[in-house]
Amino acid sequence: MIYREAGQFKSSYAGDQAIFPVVQDRVFVAAAVAAAVVVPPLLASEYWLQAVLIPFLVYALAALGLNLLTGYAGQLSLGTGGFMAVGAYSAFKLATAFPRLNIIVVFLLAGVAAAAVGILFGLPSLRIKGFYLAVATLAAQFFLIWLFNKVAWFTNYASSGTITAPDRTLFGALITGPNSTPSARYLTALGLVAVFALAAKNLVRGRIGRSWMAIRDRDIAAEIIGVRPLRTKLLAFAISSYYCGVAGAGLVFLYLGSAETLAFDIGISFLVLFMVIIGGLGSILGSFLGAAFIVLVPIVLSNAPHAIGLRMPVALQKQFELMVFGGLIILFLIVEPRGLARLWQIAKEKLRLWPFPH
């Protein structure tokens, strides 16, 4: 009854091309964004901001990037962690070399560095496809991590090998570094993610997104109708790595505060891939849902035994968490291989008819 588009007519081209053609969707999204801006800084505790909301936003940005590459352009990549590391380390180098440079500009430039590296490692995709490509992108992952470990220049010759986010301000408020408040960092991450998500949404419904999907669905056919594989695939790698690079910079500057290469190891590549698959391949909303799922599940799992009064040794609990996490992933793939975004879509379809059966 509530969710119904009857009577909403599209009377202009702009109205026809709107991202959310249904009024209720527009209202819902606007309310959600407003709530995301207002509620957490006022109500959420430091723990919630630091352990749940900020990592959610950072991972959602990385998942968006990988979804553009894997979900839209169909190129399977396991090098996400490496590209995020490029973003993080170049942001660190830029921020420390040019202390007066605006921190947002630093993030954006770090993305450019990651995009350049992404293009370099995307070159094999012209010859290699599928799992061969996935394994080939692992070369990027291992090589980049090794590089950042070996070359001390990247960490400004810090003996510990870690990079630490320096204090930087935006509009007079401290947003990075050890002295910044979680609220400020949360709002910065939210702003970045909102802008990047909007850009991604517009990217995939335009000419570029269509050419990506053509390559994904049948690359030879796409080539015949005039989509250039070289340009399209490399553009997908570049933009995806740009997103991952900014996410990597965010991971260090907004979430962890300081990090070493261990924070970008192969595990994070798999984690982001999980987010994309569980959220839904080829869906912007799915990237957010997947990131929320993967961030929340371990937290729920580690608190659940305590909440129901079960006491177990730490080691046992760790193993138990691993088992349940693995089992849940398999279960989700069986129940809905097209991801949480698909469940959301089904729910919307149901809501349109409710309370009538047909």
């Binding site: 399977l76 799992f131 061969y132 090589f143 090794w146 798999f270 193993q319 996490f325 693995g326 291989p337």
Partner: protein, 312 residues
Amino acid sequence: MLDALHAVLVAPFRDMAGSPAFLVEVLIGGLFAGLMYSLVALGFVLIFKASGVFNFAQGVMVLFAALTLVGLLERGAPVLLALGLTTAVMVALAFAIERLVLRPLVNQEHIILFMATIGLNFFLEGFGEMLWGANVKKLDIGIPDRSFIVRGVQINELELTAAVTAAVLVAVLALFFQRTRIGRALRAVADDHEAALSLGIPLKTIWVVVWSVAGVVAIVAGLMWGAKSGVQFSLSLIALKALPVLILGGFESVAGAIVGGLIIGIGEKLGEVYWGPLVGGAIENWFAYVLALAFLLVRPQGLFGERIIERV
């Protein structure tokens, strides 16, 4: 500039020619390491051939098999009994995987099945450690880890045993695939699922068989790796070592897994010993990948992989 070129292109080869005995030692070390990689890669290939599943959990299956074996040995079971029981456990695991993971996911896209095996990877890791504990364990199968010297070249007894075992295993597998009824069915399924089904070959049974065989291969790999470096969590990471072997040899080829393993093993050792110091060492993590990548640019389907024919 000239100095750098000299250090990369000339000096390593001069070193090689300078002490041939050392070169042979490096080569043999590489060969043995390569065989170990092949053992893991073999498990991947078997499953990929028969069911098209890229089984990321193979590394953890190796760990799981080794953990079970060590656990049984520690509880005083004789070696043969422990081996038999471990085999039974791996077969049971194959049944469970087929029933709980593969059957509900039949006809899904490759990437979904791949992700499911990563889920399986997490599950088995937790399960194995829960059953047998997370400590590093020593696996003693009665082969001393000592070396003898033939014509000035050092040879490790354990590695020699591993090589012989691997050779025997490959021979047995080849016989199994070429000469038995089930082997023929496996090859038929690998060739064309639907044609095999319409001939009355039970696909589900075949999957159980092939996962069981991969489980047995995992036991052998776990035995050898465990005897060499102890049974511990890092054993599951050798899966990452087997991946470049796979893309080099081709996903569908048993011979490719062996030859690819040897090439990667030798290439890695040579790179580490002669070129590694130039860039500060510890390159073995990515050198194999770059080697395989360079190779793929020339031959995208790997050494022995099926030629990719694409039509619109």
